[in-house]
């Protein structure tokens, strides 16, 4: 895969770019020509000669400008919208296909802002590149034309600019403090509201809603006061703009007027000069054009970092028939600054229940994620029924192996979606939900399995039950990474009973902190600081005092 650059993004809209560039050029030319043409028209009117020609030119210019603006609206939007969508699809694919390790270094919120915000900035790359020169033309060109009409006009223009700077300097005041005080008061009100919302059940049952309301709104007069301050600041800058506005124009008109008196320019030229002065004042806006390119560049950069995530490569092999034998063959997992697992050799028989225990930081979750191929070892390999996991096709792997987590993230629009995405049918969803006791609470939601996820507030235990139901259909290996820790003991007991009496005889790898779970397992893998300390039945290991310590 080639890296994402400004050029690649710009080229994606290549069908539109010539058109966008052309209309921008024509628009700029129209903008620059119009004041002169209008001036000549006026002179022609006064002179009573050649009037028709100038009027026709002026009308043609204006119509051309309108047409350019129409074309630019459609072409620009089509180009940017298309490029944005393309970038977004690609980035989402890149994150999703990169697996959990691929996007480990990115925060979720950061990724969201890259996909929703930065891509639309980046998509401006093409149009910004082709329109920059055109956008710079009017302000710079009008200064040139001003000087062409009469050099003194350009001098007057800069004199006006100096006056403006002077006025701005006089008015400059510090304004940051006021808006800070406003935001702080606002924060205080939010904090009180947040606090009351946590105690909503108490407040509602005590009938003290009105009292809480008064308490929270106690800060409102202060907010009001700070709010009025912010308007005073604005008032100052508003007054400033009203004075500064005409300064440059007046300077050019005054100097131009004197030239007119001397007969060096015509009335039409004076008018053109005044318009060029207005256009030239747009010089300050040039930073905006350059800013757009810089923003596009930054957007491309931010998108490129996501683009660079490597996709997880899956093999093409199906899985041969087998009992679900899981093998760790000399497995080491190392990151830049730590060794998480070191030289792990394990041969776990098919159909067995295997508990993984150890103090926190022992590498239990790393072992679980290796078994589910949510990450790959740095050294060694993990095999399922003799086939290395990376050689198995993605579909075969995910049909065979299921994984449930301590804190599952539910993905989908409805609760049913979150249990089963691929529409295997309500029967299998229902069977999985019943086996994991998720059905008990899902059936009581307002719309059952069709309840939208945001409308189904769930406790940690309820989420875990959905996470279990999601992993349940796995055919050969079920990995449970502390996946029942938030369940109450009665439910946990019932689920482990279902697990133990599993009709499909799947291999079960269960990371746990609970003695009871370890005691029911056929085999316990005891991990300590990244190494296998011992493997054996719970009753045997229990003789060891340091093993008992693992359970507190």
């Amino acid at each position: 895969m080639t890296a994402l650059t400004f050029g690649t993004v710009a080229r994606h809209g290549r069908g539109w770019l010539p058109l966008i560039g052309l209309t921008a050029m024509v628009s700029s030319a129209v903008t620059l020509a119009l004041p002169s043409v209008l001036g000549h028209s006026v002179d022609a009117i006064v002179a009573g000669a050649d009037y028709g020609r100038w009027f026709t030119i002026a009308a043609a210019l204006i119509v051309t400008g309108i047409i350019c603006s129409l074309i630019d609206t459609f072409a620009g939007t089509a180009c940017v919208a298309g490029t944005t969508a393309w970038l977004r699809h690609r980035l989402v694919g890149q994150v999703v296909r990169g697996g959990p390790e691929g996007s480990r270094e990115f925060d979720t919120g950061d990724l969201v802002s890259r996909v929703s915000g930065n891509t639309s900035d980046a998509a401006q790359a093409g149009p910004a590149a082709v329109t920059t020169v055109a956008a710079m033309a009017p302000p710079i060109g009008s200064l040139v034309l001003l000087a062409v009409i009469d050099p003194w006009l350009a001098v007057a223009f800069f004199g006006g600019v100096i006056l403006v700077v002077g006025v701005l300097f006089v008015f400059a005041r510090r304004t940051a403090e006021i808006s800070l005080a406003y935001q702080e008061t606002q924060g205080r009100i939010s904090a009180l509201l947040t606090e009351s919302l946590t105690g909503l059940r108490t407040i509602a049952s005590a009938g003290t809603t009105a009292r809480e309301e008064r308490r929270i709104l106690g800060f409102l007069p202060e907010l009001h006061k700070h709010g009025l301050e912010t308007w005073k600041v604005l008032a100052r800058s508003g007054a400033q703009a009203a004075i500064v506005g005409p300064l440059v124009l007046v300077a050019v008109l005054a100097v131009g007027g004197l030239q007119l008196v001397d007969g060096r320019i015509t009335a039409g030229e004076l008018f053109a000069a005044s318009q060029y002065a207005v256009l030239g004042a747009g010089l300050g806006g040039l930073t905006g054009v350059i800013g757009e390119i810089a923003r596009a560049r930054a957007g491309v950069q931010r998108a490129a970092e996501v683009f660079a995530i490597d996709s997880v490569v899956h093999g093409t092999l199906p899985l041969p028939p087998g009992p679900g034998r899981l093998t760790f063959d000399g497995v080491t997992v190392a990151t830049a600054d730590a060794v998480l697992l070191e030289n792990v050799h394990l041969e776990l028989p098919g159909g067995a229940t295997v508990a993984v225990v150890g103090p926190s930081g022992a590498g239990k979750s790393v072992l679980a994620s290796l078994a589910a191929r949510l990450r790959d070892p740095s050294v060694g390999q993990v095999l399922l029924d003799g086939v290395p996991l990376p050689a198995i096709s993605r579909q075969a792997l995910r049909t065979a192996v299921g994984c449930a987590f301590e804190r599952p993230t539910l993905v989908g629009t409805t609760v049913g979606d979150a249990i089963s995405h691929d529409a295997v049918g309500p029967v299998r969803t229902l069977a999985a939900a019943r086996a994991t006791h998720a059905h008990d609470f899902v059936s009581r939601l307002p719309d059952g399995y069709f309840t939208p996820l945001p409308k189904a507030p769930m406790s940690g235990g309820e989420r875990q039950r959905l996470g279990l139901a999601r992993a349940w259909p796995a055919q050969r290996l079920l990995v449970l990474d502390d996946a029942t820790s938030s369940l109450d003991t009665a439910t946990e007991m019932q689920i482990s009973k279902t697990l133990t009496e599993d009709r499909h005889r799947r291999t079960r790898l269960i990371v746990t902190h609970r003695t009871a779970t370890a005691a029911r397992a056929d085999l316990v893998v005891w991990l300590d600081v990244g190494r296998v300390r011992a493997v054996g039945p719970h009753q045997e290991l229990w003789q060891d005092a340091s093993y008992r310590e693992v359970f507190g």
């Binding site: 009117i45 509201l193 919302l197 008032a235 007054a239 009665a490």
Partner: protein, 562 residues
């Protein structure tokens, strides 16, 4: 949309609006004088009167200073209009959140209220500027040459009217675009937060589709907005360019009727420097800020306080509790949480409710306390349905302490006397002693100490809530897992204090040990229930035996979930 506009118009209170309008008068002067000054200056320069020309331009700067004074006042008056509007919105959001429990309210308070504040101010300002410009240009043109005004103003007004018509078309598209934006953020947030889970379930294609849909919707919304933008360009052509061309076309005829060169230039200046920017700004502001104002304000108004159903019953006789055929479900198509429950709790009884988590124990507490109304069957508290008694009156009969204890930032004493504001020090001291909170009070620095909920552990917050409930005048106490973060010994002490307090005690149990302290136990199992004392239940209820089995003291089940 009508509701939002009406709200905005009603926010324009008389006095500040009048002041704003009056201070706009000096603001009109520079706009009005612009073209006139250019016209007279040009004519003077043409006639060779250099100093008169310069004087006209000087006059322009002078009126600009006058206008600046006006602008200054206008912004100040704008604050008098906008700040009360913001106050009202904050009141609505806070009031609504406290009545609906909507967690999104905090974000609404910070973001949406500010958006409405800014866009409302922006709209008032832009519309005022538009009116000032239009008025100023009109005055200037009329004083310059009424004929010129007759050529310029009508097409301008037509263009403006057309752009208002386009606005209606834009509203739905802007809304669609905003919605697609939000959906994209939600779907991508969900997907990026769940990459691990997506990989583990092989749901890559599903996730791509989940985010893909809003991506396409967003692109479609942008393309359809382009059509509106094109229409706006055409409106601008009518309102901004047509007056210019008409004036030029009529130029020779006007000059023939004695209009000077300067006047013609003045007319062009009014169009290019006055009318065109004003039209551009007002079209942009209405199309962007205006729609954002309507949509955001609509969200705030929608989320305001719900209509409260009246609670007509005013008399509660005693506090005996009776449940008759009580059934409750969270929706018409949802399975019932409780079904056909029969139970009587006499005054002074001590009942414990046990069952697996999520079985409906808290729902039962809510029904008993009148927070929820039964789907069918009856709840009678003191002979009347509690869901029909005003909450303030109900608070004198029953007190509910939920699992998530409420402590607010403020003096400890105020937290204690929340339900009995005129409690005496000795009453509070006695309650603190009884519940076992004396050591906590001492640690925090006495009754006067200020507390912040974030500085307290969950258990400490529960102790404070327990003291508060103990002080409450209500004879019926419902503890809904209110002691779950206390250690078993502290829990025992608190429960015993409430049992000895007099009145009825209903404990929704977190630990089975609570059941051993009660005379009667209600076991909830699915939507079935069993009731009896400990020995009977051990004999008759398999679930009770199971719960008892796993919760033996000393077993690993009492460990907090890790």
């Amino acid at each position: 949309m009508r509701r939002e506009l009406r709200y905005g118009v009603e926010a324009l209170r008389k006095r500040p609006t009048l002041k704003l309008a009056l201070w706009s008068v000096p603001d009109i002067l520079p706009t009005a004088i612009y073209g006139v000054a250019v016209a007279h200056a040009t004519d003077n320069f043409l006639a060779g009167h250099a100093w008169q020309g310069i004087a006209w331009l000087g006059g322009l700067v002078a009126t600009a200073c006058l206008g600046a004074a006006g602008s200054h006042q206008v912004y100040g008056r704008l604050g008098d209009l906008v700040e009360p509007l913001r106050d009202d919105l904050v009141r609505r959001v806070v009031g609504g959140a406290l009545r609906t429990g909507d967690d999104a309210a905090v974000a609404r308070l910070n973001r949406q209220v500010e958006i409405v504040r800014d866009t409302f101010a922006g709209l008032v300002l832009v519309i005022r500027n538009f009116a000032v410009t239009l008025f100023g240009v009109l005055v200037g043109l009329l004083s310059l040459a009424p004929l010129v005004a007759a050529f310029v103003v009508p097409p301008f007004l037509v263009g403006f009217a057309l752009s208002l018509a386009v606005l209606g078309m834009a509203a739905d598209r802007v809304r669609a675009s905003l919605q697609a934006d939000e959906e994209l953020a939600t779907a991508s947030g969900m997907t990026f937060g769940g990459v691990r889970d997506i990989a583990a379930t092989g749901a890559e294609e599903f996730a791509e589709k989940l985010v893909g849909r809003p991506i396409e919707a967003q692109a479609a919304a942008e393309r359809s907005l382009a059509k509106v933008a094109a229409l706006r360009t055409l409106c601008f052509a009518v309102g901004g360019w047509a007056p210019l061309l008409i004036l030029l076309a009529a130029g020779p005829w006007l000059v023939g009727r004695g209009i000077s060169t300067g006047t013609l230039l003045g007319g062009l200046t009014y169009v290019l420097i006055g009318l065109q920017p004003a039209l551009n700004t007002v079209m942009g502001a209405l199309g962007d800020s205006g729609l954002r104002y309507v949509i955001t304000l609509g969200r705030i108004l929608d989320s305001a306080a719900p209509v409260v159903t009246p609670r007509p019953v005013d008399e509660v006789n005693g506090y005996q509790l009776r449940l008759r055929g009580l059934t409750f479900a969270y929706g018409p198509s949802a399975d019932p949480v409780l079904e056909d429950l029969e139970l009587t709790v006499a005054e002074g009884e001590h009942l414990v409710v046990v069952g697996p988590s999520g079985i409906g124990k808290s729902t039962l507490a809510g029904l008993v306390c009148g927070m929820l109304a039964p789907t069918s069957g009856r709840v009678l508290l003191g002979g009347v349905p509690p869901s029909e008694v005003p909450v303030e009156r109900l608070a004198a009969t029953r007190v509910l302490i939920p699992q998530e204890a409420y402590v607010f930032s403020g003096p400890l004493m105020e937290n204690f006397t929340y339900l009995l504001p005129d409690a005496t020090i000795s009453e509070v001291t006695q309650a603190v002693e009884a519940v076992g909170a004396a050591r906590l009070v001492e640690r925090l620095g006495g009754f006067g100490a200020r507390v912040r909920p974030d500085d307290l552990s969950a258990g400490e917050r529960q102790l404070i809530a327990l003291v508060r409930a103990y002080l409450s005048p209500a004879p019926l106490v419902v503890l809904d897992e209110a002691t779950c973060f206390l250690d078993p010994e502290a829990e025992r002490r608190a429960e015993e204090a409430f049992a000895a307090r007099g009145g009825t005690l209903i404990v929704i149990a977190h630990r089975i040990s609570s059941a051993l302290r009660a005379r009667r136990i209600l076991v909830l199992d699915g939507n079935k229930a069993a009731i009896g004392n400990h020995p009977t239940l051990v004999r008759n209820s398999p679930l009770y035996r199971e719960l008892l089995g796993h919760w033996q003291p000393g077993g690993d089940q009492i460990q907090p979930a890790s």
